[in-house]
């Protein structure tokens, strides 16, 4: 026979007014509260007429002892003894739970009353943890002030501990109350900076819904800039601001100055900048900053040929990396043109890498422009500072022929691609040759002009034929070409073609 179950003694006796649901284990915080209300206020909410005499007695006694148990009425010693005797005998509840108790809501708007008991306990642990951390944090500040008064500083480990502590506090605050802690105040190294907030009246113009803590970052930046502080921590503030607003026009200059003052290695800064550039493809300031860095760095290594070559290679590699993602990025191409001149990258490899981009996309005008620059401004085979649209006798004939052939090949691939036609015209100008020298080539794209069966596969070829005719003084043919462009092959520019015809008449 199994042993007989003996009800466990809890040490407290359930009051007679307790209902079964008041005695079961509560699931939620709200439920527990309700139970406590029910147990501490007998028969509340019931119609008094429905109560038995005993129940009525308990009900009225409970209410009668309230002012005394709550200390609102004081009794003589003797009377008080009597009072407690009765209370004990009848097991009346002397403390009451307010029946409109509000647990409040958590950060997600969830009622805390709907938490399980366990969840509430966890929350309380976190709150206690937060309070404890704030005490330690206050102690840290105190110790640091004390150290400072004695001309000493705290150990880096203590600062790192405090940094971790503040991060944990910020995380707890967010977790418990959904409140965000600003970024910079989480790091004790910024504690002594007194931020200078920007003035933003309520009716300011062009207000922007700034991301969290942008205003904080700016106010710290303003403070250190005014203080003319150039330290590593300021470098981190600039990085923080740049991450939110890479187009800020003085943060980059300030950053550059910090690098100069601290004499930081430029290659490190360039490496950092690479990341920023990859995240902000369209930004202009980044490339300007890079240019400043290079202008500053280059003289230091100018005498070391290997170092210059190494720099040129790493710069071009990075430029290529960006261009692989954004093939026509204007700032990047402009930067490329500038470093070619500065670092002397008039190399076969550079021409090859540009050529690859044209092979990938024959309509990439940026690549064509760069090619023109590489070929016709190379100091070894061109006149210094020659205008890009003028004849340059210093350019070798072999180069001219190579470029003409290359361009014609590309035109044959895509006859309506204007980039290659513009290039062809450019080469002819450099060569001091007229457009008419390519008349034969251009004619294949415009057959039977003005006749039955007219077929034009490139409006740019037709334009070149027109220009060739203007050159040779054949106004009739030029007019025909312009008219055919205006009427049929490039009607969107009709006004321009008519203008060209009117120019013919003036001549």
């Amino acid at each position: 026979m199994p042993p007989k179950k003996v009800p466990q003694k809890t040490g407290k006796l359930d009051p007679v007014w307790a209902k079964p649901e008041d005695l079961k284990k509560p699931e939620t915080v709200g439920e527990r509260t309700q139970q406590r209300i029910n147990l501490s206020t007998p028969y509340h909410g019931k119609d008094l007429n429905d109560l038995t005499a005993d129940e009525l007695k308990i009900y009225s006694h409970t209410n009668l002892i309230k002012p005394i148990s709550e200390g609102k009425i004081s009794l003589s010693v003797k009377a008080e003894r009597e009072f407690w005797k009765v209370v004990n005998k009848e097991k009346l509840p002397i403390r009451h739970v307010r029946d409109n108790y509000d647990w409040g809501k958590d950060k997600n708007g969830k009622d805390i009353a709907s938490y399980t008991i366990e969840e509430l306990n966890q929350r309380k642990v976190k709150q206690a943890r937060y309070r404890a951390l704030s005490l330690f944090s206050r102690q840290f500040v105190h110790l640091r002030d004390q150290a400072k008064r004695q001309g000493a500083e705290l150990a880096e480990t203590q600062i790192e501990d405090e940094r971790k502590r503040r991060r944990e506090m910020a995380a707890l605050k967010k977790d418990l109350y959904g409140e965000l802690t600003a970024k910079l105040v989480q790091d004790p190294v910024y504690d002594d900076i007194i931020p200078i907030p920007m003035e933003e009246p309520e009716n300011a113009l062009a207000r922007i819904a700034y991301p969290d803590f942008y205003a904080e970052a700016i106010s710290y930046l303003r403070a250190v800039m005014v203080a003319e502080e150039y330290t590593p921590r300021c470098l981190r503030i600039t990085e923080h601001v740049i991450s939110m607003n890479p187009a800020h026009y003085t943060v980059w200059l300030y950053r550059f100055k910090i690098i100069q003052v601290l004499d930081l290695p430029i290659p490190d800064e360039i490496e950092w900048l690479n990341e920023v550039a990859l995240n902000n493809l369209k930004n202009y300031q980044i490339w300007h900053h890079r240019q400043l860095l290079l202008d500053y760095y280059y003289p230091k290594i100018a005498d070391d040929e290997d170092a210059v070559k190494k720099l040129a290679k790493s710069e071009i590699d990075f430029v290529n990396q960006i261009l692989a993602e954004d093939t026509k990025n204007y700032h990047v191409w402009s930067y490329r043109q500038d470093i070619v001149a500065k670092l002397g990258i008039w190399t076969v490899a550079e021409l090859g890498s540009t050529q690859n981009m044209i092979e990938d996309d024959v309509r990439n005008n940026s690549a064509w422009s760069h090619r023109f620059y590489l070929v016709f401004s190379d100091p070894s085979q061109s006149t210094k500072d020659a205008s890009p649209t003028e004849h340059d006798p210093k350019v070798p004939e072999s180069i001219i022929e190579r470029e003409l052939k290359y361009t014609r090949d590309k035109i044959l691939l895509s006859p309506q691609n204007q980039s290659s036609w513009n290039y062809l015209r450019g080469v002819l100008r450099k060569a001091g040759r007229g457009m008419s020298t390519e008349e034969g080539f251009a004619s294949q794209f415009a057959e039977c002009l003005g006749e039955e069966g007219e077929k034009v596969t490139s409006s740019h070829a037709l334009e070149m034929l027109a220009d060739a005719s203007v050159e040779t003084g054949d106004a009739e043919k030029a007019t025909l070409c312009f008219t055919r462009l205006a009427k049929t092959w490039d009607p969107i520019r009709e006004g321009y073609w008519q203008y060209r015809i009117s120019q013919l008449k003036e001549q």
Binding site: Y249, Y330, R363, R429, K487
Partner: protein
């Protein structure tokens, strides 16, 4: 069959700009926090060219906000982030673009007629013109701000344009020896610098080694055009500086005329979804399909050869042609159809490309493009300063008022001294 004329949804644009005026700009605008003056100027100028009157209280607020951005040593700072108060006031940084937009904006909200003579009251003309001169480098280019006593920033012609505009808006032509007389910027070197920017294909850029770009072409030509502009715009414009600053005009005209192309709406839209390789290029029309009557429906513009169409280049390319007194029209009707049917947005404003949300920049330059095309419902437009002709007239009055005040102040100061001496 003729297609219905495209409709300029003026009311929706007004709604768009009022919304920009009343509410916060979304957080991506944080990256242009340093040019908030530009957004403010676009907002008020757009409402102005759309004939929306301003509330006097609002005007006072604009003036206070703008003048608060002024730097004690001349020029305006781009946003409150760059302004310091009190003893640190000198530590802020004025910026050329901000100064341009501040001066235009003060005029946009100014009153018409004589009452507008005070529009620049509070503007430190003398300091700003001196700061402007300090911004010019030996090579003729302009920096965007001063740093450690040096002009800094790129050398591109955006700065040349802004400098030339600020000069025109403030300098005027006080009598020789007058208290308001200020030394000029170096005219020869600014023209030379711009002239060096013509590229092998006739276009313009910061330097001839760079790729030609319609935006820089506008800035270069507008800079030149404003150098020559008479004090009263209505007196007509001389083209001397433009001629001297562009080495090959015919070639430049061709470059600008080439910026327009037949925009194949359907193909572009389909490609937009597929994200194919080569998405950086506009889709070329088959030449033999061009003679079908309606093939020229949409005339898009790009800023560089082969690039896709973009709302703002309609303005940059057409505006530049206008200033060059080109003698021909580009496809006005296809351009209008492109703007109104492709990038005019349902909620008002214009987007950069089809299918994108509108943004302030393209919304404003879209209107500017339409203004050049003579759209009814938009005020007559100043192609050089990118505001209404009315605003330009207000700038002229404000400048005259400023100069007159400077002269009077100098005179009364002298009179005071006279009495001191007696």
């Amino acid at each position: 069959m003729t297609r219905p004329e495209p409709v300029f949804e003026k009311d929706r644009h007004i709604k768009y700009w009022k919304r920009c005026h009343d509410t916060y700009l979304p957080s991506p605008y944080t990256a242009s926090d340093s040019t908030r003056l530009m957004w403010a100027c676009f907002t008020y100028s757009a409402l102005d060219i759309l004939h929306v009157p301003f509330d006097p209280e609002d005007v006072a607020n604009v003036r206070t906000w703008v003048l608060n951005l002024q730097h004690p040593q001349g020029g305006f700072c781009g946003s409150p982030a760059h302004v310091y108060k009190g003893q640190a006031a000198d530590q802020g940084h004025a910026n050329l673009a901000a100064t341009f937009f501040a001066l235009v904006l003060l005029a946009v909200v100014a009153e018409h007629g004589e009452a507008g003579a005070d529009a620049y009251a509070g503007v430190n003309r003398q300091q700003t013109l001196r700061w402007l001169r300090r911004l010019q480098r030996d090579d003729g280019s302009f920096g965007q701000n001063m740093w450690d006593g040096q002009p800094v920033g790129g050398r591109d012609t955006r700065h040349s344009y802004l400098a030339s505009s600020v000069r025109w808006m403030l300098r005027g032509d006080p009598e020789k020896g007058s208290a308001a007389e200020e030394e000029d910027i170096d005219m020869e070197s600014i023209i030379r610098h711009i002239r060096r920017g013509q590229t092998f294909d006739g276009g313009l850029a910061e330097a001839s080694s760079h790729e030609s770009h319609a935006g820089y072409a506008y800035c270069s030509v507008a800079a030149l055009s404003l150098l020559d502009r008479p004090l009263r715009f209505s007196d007509g414009t001389s083209h001397e500086a433009v001629l001297r600053g562009t080495s090959d005009r015919d070639h430049l005209l061709k470059f600008l005329a080439d910026r327009q192309f037949v925009y194949l709406a359907q193909d572009e839209e389909e490609e937009g979804v597929s994200h194919d390789a080569g998405e950086e290029n506009f889709i070329m029309a088959q030449l033999d399909s061009l003679n079908i009557d309606d093939s020229c429906d949409y005339g898009g513009f790009n800023g560089r050869c082969n690039k896709k169409a973009d709302t703002c280049y309609c303005w940059w390319a057409m505006g530049t042609l206008r200033m060059l007194d080109s003698g021909f029209d580009i496809g006005a009707s296809p351009a209008r159809r492109y703007l109104l049917e492709i990038t005019q947005h349902r909620i008002g404003g214009f987007s950069k490309v089809a299918g994108a949300p509108p943004d302030l920049y393209h919304a404003y330059l879209g209107l500017a493009g339409l203004a050049l095309l003579g759209e009814s419902g938009i005020k007559e437009f100043d192609v050089g300063l990118c505001c209404s002709i009315e605003t330009t007239a207000k700038i002229e009055r404000a400048r005259a008022g400023l100069i007159q005040r400077a002269e009077q102040d100098a005179q009364s100061e002298q009179e005071d001294r006279f009495w001191e001496q007696v």
